[in-house]
Amino acid sequence: MVRRTNVVLRRIYPIAPRDLEQAGTVSTHVRRELLALGMNPDVVRRASVVCFEGEMNMVLYSQGGRIILLVKEDRVEILFSDHGPGIADIDLASQPGYSTAPDWARELGFGAGLGINNMEKNSDLFKIRSRVGEGTVVRATILVGVPFF
């Protein structure tokens, strides 16, 4: 049986495509919220990196969507869902060094091909689901010092 844990905090942030001016503001807001809850600095840093990479991917590559922050008693969950275009080959997109970033984004220091990798490394549970023409949903979970059982 899955134990349901209480939601401590829930935030929903809309993400506009190609809005680089605002890009990064969701992540800094999420960081502030987690710090205000008194969470462990390491958990806050990991969640911040996951959030920033996901946010930048949505801004650079998606047609917009939203980020949902859920803080539960034992975990931080960040959900990224967009309206497309979807990822045809998730394994390929997750490969370190692979990027479809245009030149203008690379010149700004994006498109290193490490985004998904960084998200995965900083998460305890990580899942991407995507359908071309529909959109992508990413769920990243960071456990907050749970006991092993």
Binding site: L20, A23, S27, T28, R45, V49, F52, G109
Partner: protein, 110 residues
């Protein structure tokens, strides 16, 4: 070593002076944001040529001690304003990144 001391030793111009007593523990030199997110440690001085708004967010999220723009590169006023709001220490160095990193290394490991 304290940020104010490092800034004086390296001849850095301070654009956003916030925490002169912040402890600098190391440095990282990169223009790739994901690389910085993956490898900087809290308290590092981040040396870069990137100077757009997202740099402030990356510096904040990784809790770097400060960001140094190398080769005299200056960020626009909106970047400085964002750094003030987010409380991120910004510096400009006239030196190329290699020399900034070299001087920082020498200061931290005399």
């Amino acid at each position: 070593m304290q940020l104010a001391q490092i800034a004086a030793d390296l001849g850095l111009e301070c654009l956003v002076p916030l925490e002169p007593e912040r402890e600098v523990r190391g440095g990282y030199c990169s223009d790739l944001l994901s690389d910085v997110l993956a490898h900087t440690q809290p308290g590092d001085l981040w040396i870069t040529h990137q100077r757009h708004l997202n740099v402030v967010a990356v510096g904040k999220l990784r809790e770097v001690a400060g960001i140094v723009f190398a080769r005299g590169l200056r960020p626009s006023p909106d970047v400085v304003a964002r750094a003030q709001t987010e409380r991120v220490n910004l510096f400009v160095s006239p030196d190329p990144a290699f020399e900034v990193a070299g001087k920082l290394y020498r200061a931290l490991h005399p």
